[in-house]
Symmetry: C2
Subunit: 197 residues, 2 copies
């Protein structure tokens, strides 16, 4: 399955054949249908693996974060742009599946990197920060929407221009947006701790 991920990353899904997979894995032709019902099953397995890996690594960052909502949020953004999660191979695979997701419902289930679970976590975190604001719910909703869009956009930037991409810059820009929405909770430093002024 690791070999399959490599092949997808290098050649895209359209050019991922059983022949190429078993060549890369050093196995024989029949193995694919011994462990998986079909080639599609194998691909779906890879897609699910990507999703699980994303959340496993994200949880690693979250568990080391402080108790404040600002800490949680910084952990999420940092994780999302970290070398552990955002790699050339991982984005290649993510976007390869995305491209085929429309035609394959099984892929669709795993093509939303930051799905409802993470979306809700971010929303609840923002809601906590925005508690004393005028319209906390809408502010939190906008902040969630914008943050996820920014992160997604940074991934695409990494995907298209990974040689010029800079994680610290990306993180700084994301937090510039966050800080603008919550001037009391965040300062403009590099995603740093809160400075209630």
């Amino acid at each position: 399955m690791e070999a399959t991920a490599d092949v997808i990353s290098d050649h895209g899904i359209a050019n991922t054949s059983v022949t190429r997979i078993i060549e890369r894995a050093g196995l024989s032709r029949g193995m694919v249908h011994l462990h998986f019902q079909s080639k599609e099953d194998l691909l779906v397995g890879v897609a699910r693996h990507m999703s699980e890996q994303y959340y496993a690594k994200l949880d690693g960052f979250l568990s080391q974060a402080g108790p404040k909502p600002q800490d949680k949020l910084e952990a999420i953004v940092t994780a999302d742009l970290s070398e552990e999660i955002l790699t050339r191979k991982s984005v290649n695979i993510w976007y390869a599946f995305r491209g085929e997701a429309r035609s394959d419902n099984a892929f669709m289930a795993y093509s939303d990197t930051r799905d409802d679970a993470l979306r809700n976590l971010i929303f609840e975190t923002y809601l906590e920060i925005a508690a004393q604001s005028e319209n906390p719910e809408m502010l939190a909703r906008d902040a969630t929407h914008g943050t996820i869009a920014l992160l997604e956009g940074m991934w695409v930037d990494f995907f298209l221009h990974s040689d010029q991409f800079n994680r610290a810059t990306a993180k700084r820009i994301v937090f510039r947006f966050v800080a603008a929405l919550f001037p009391q909770a965040f300062d403009l430093q590099d995603g740093g701790p809160e400075k209630p002024n």
Copy 2:
């Protein structure tokens, strides 16, 4: 070629065969190689067409925009999220090509929706707005980076949840980011005209 675009949108590139294309187009088998050197040539043609269409429609919006840099910027964001540019079919095709771009250098040339030309236009526009700021170049660079990332993220949001997507909301959130960076040049209204205060 229009038929090819339809097939890609519906079935993804992996499942786009010559048979399916000629069925959809109502033509015969040999036509593909009469008008195009190969199937790949045809696909590259579609990719180029997408890129040309994007810029053609964007120019339509820009030509109707006012003279102020704020007007230009609003035109760009509005166009990018408009019903003319951002459609289910168009995003399906864009992301289908993206997924295969890594393995095909010809696709790579057209996979960057908002390429250097637009990036520079946005940067120059921001530079104009940021002229009297402390560090105009860095501010304009960050604003360009963030704006493009936000737009890209909104596209992905539309791609994954087109049924829940709301253009006005997306636009509002983008301008919330922009307004935060340039409080003197933009007010917080829905992408509205500038309010120098």
